[in-house]
Amino acid sequence: MRHLFTARPRRRVIGLTTSGKIAVGVSTVILLVGIPTIAQAYAEGPKAAEAGAPTVTFIQALLIGLGYYLSQAPWLAGVSFYTLYRPLVAGLLVGIILGDPGQGALIGAAINLVYLGFISAGGSIPGDPALAGWIGTTIALAGGLSYGEALALAVPIGLLGTLVWNARMTVDSAFAHAADRAAERADIGGVVRANVLYPQLWLFLITAVPVTIAVFLGTGFIVDLLGTFPIWLLSGLAIAGGVLPAIGIAMNMRFIFRGSAVPYFFLGYLSMVILGSSMSIMLLAVIGVALAFLHITFIGGGAALAGASTGGSGRSSLAERRAQGAARVAAGDTKGADK
């Protein structure tokens, strides 16, 4: 099967991935369009500001910047990638910072739909859910945006986030060499510093600092900007709000929508359509557990989802990993590893 990351080389010292190039391109366009717009808004500024443009205090902006840094930093037992990195959690925390946890969690939940199937694979990410969550929730909460507007806004922000990711992954390679030099001196402390101190200083510089500034200076402008959109354009964003979750869900389907588990997707979909609001996700999950046991017992495991089991995503390259994994599990322990 042709796959998303097929053509990508396994190691990369410097340089951008295909997604990185797309992200840089799109972000550049956004910046080119955005900066003059913001400058113009600034020129006409006083009027809009008096009209009650929402503001974020510097302390709040700082906390949001710190939150975004923490979402990628190791300090929370390494689980921030599973928690603060996800818009649902980021939304709750932004909500707490801005004084409305319930609304924050709700907006975060909406944005999270786009990134439901987010998987970091081979050191590349399809958009940055954390930036979309932290900044997107801030703007949506401050500006009282609708569901669709919040979702549509989160997309370009998430794209910008891949710039941060690429900057981090590229520069961090240098610290791996610092670790090499420390190892040559048998300097354990040096290796630890190369793994923690330098990369974290760099990460702080490229996450907390720009996000704090952007949130502090930019929130009001972007909300004002959205206020100048014609109604039909807002309708378009609202439609996008219904369409974009399809991508998040489909991204996840790449990994589990295969083999004998496929019919259960339709079963889940149709139960929800037919039963509507009387069916909850929790109920569906409980039924799903029961069906999973039945399925394994009566149909058996075997190679039904074999592609997923040995390949999954992997972090070097999806397709490569898949082939590698299958081969290694089949023969690896007798051949390669058992010297």
Partner: protein
């Protein structure tokens, strides 16, 4: 030779002069748990984190011997990349092998390296599929549904009362899962050794677990798709005397929820054909905006009353009267 490597360290603990303590194991666990992605980079991904996590063992086993310390550090600074939670099996097995090596058993560097590279692929596959692919979306789905988010029906988020407990529950569930899996994986890897790990892969147990999780994941994903993917056509066509509203008179008659299902399947198909998600995001937003251009009728005054004047329609199917008016305006 491989028998000595594979046998559980506990069985022959009396023979070993240099031994890792439980404390070393916990330290390795904590370092890996915290710093596995601290210096994540394009060149060697988790290499420095792996070396960092081996430092307690290196101090214990080779402490004071500069040459051996140097060799050990260099040995673990090579390319490494796996699932941070399930992949901790490799750390356990590595600790066991290093322990043997430090006690003079013939464990060549190659054996450790090939074990690491041999296991990191399959474990990344299993870990990413179960962890990132199934458990995270499942817990997220639960969390999102508890926050009270409703798609389409209510356009304004401000009208809904969000429940922060959804996000809190998600954090608790996923944290317990990640911390637990990493610890179990690492300690089992250390106690049982490499042969046991490869046995698990060969026995098909992993396949059954993944299949079961896949069934559950598909159910929930289907439900999520039905709840949150919305696509309504506002346009209508007139064939002779008959006025057909595409949404109500055509699509809903074939099957309720037909368009969103088709959209999800199309997106999935495009992704498997190698389309990049970012490209799709951009295309979809552009198409949605183009679809909202009111070229068939008067421009809407509110987001909700765009009905019939554009191809696509936000939030809900058109109410009947408005649809007719706008449709005849064409």
């Amino acid at each position: 030779m491989s028998d000595t490597i594979n046998s559980a360290p506990a069985e022959e603990s009396e023979e070993l002069e240099k031994r890792l303590t439980k404390r070393d194991l916990v330290k390795t666990y904590l370092i890996w748990q915290f710093f596995s992605h601290s210096n994540y980079n394009y060149e060697r991904l988790q290499a420095t984190a792996f070396a960092h996590s081996m430092t307690p063992a290196i101090k214990r086993l080779y402490g004071g011997d500069e040459e051996q310390t140097r060799q050990a550090l260099k040995r673990h600074l090579v390319f490494f990349n796996t699932s941070p939670d399930f992949g901790a099996v490799i750390h356990g097995v590595t600790l066991a092998m290093e322990e043997q090596k430090a006690n003079g058993k013939p464990v060549p560097d190659d054996a450790i390296n090939s074990m690491k590279t041999g296991l990191m692929g399959p474990l990344a596959g299993v870990g990413d599929t179960i962890g990132q692919g199934i458990m995270v979306p499942l817990f997220l789905a639960l969390g999102i549904s508890i926050t009270g988010l409703k798609a389409g029906a209510e356009q304004d988020l401000a009208d809904l009362n969000g429940n922060p407990l959804g996000a809190i529950l998600y954090v608790i569930l996923i944290t317990a899962f990640v911390l637990g899996v990493t610890w179990v994986a690492m300690s089992q890897g250390y106690r049982r050794g490499r042969s046991a790990v490869t046995e698990v892969f060969k026995s098909g147990l992993m396949d059954r677990v993944i299949l079961g999780a896949g069934v559950l994941g598909n159910m929930v994903l289907g439900g999520l798709a039905a709840s949150f993917v919305k696509l309504y056509v506002g346009a209508s066509i007139t064939v002779g005397e008959t006025h057909l509203r595409l949404q109500q008179d055509v699509f809903d008659h074939i099957m309720p929820g037909l368009l969103p299902l088709a959209l999800v399947l199309l997106t999935w198909w495009l992704l498997t054909r190698g389309w990049h998600p970012i490209k799709l995001l951009v295309i979809y937003v552009v198409v949605c905006i183009l679809g909202a251009i009111p070229f068939m009728g008067p421009a809407p005054q509110y987001v909700t009353d765009a009905c019939g004047s554009s191809i696509l329609q936000p939030y809900a199917p058109c109410a009947a009267p408005t649809g007719d008016d706008a449709g005849s305006g064409k």
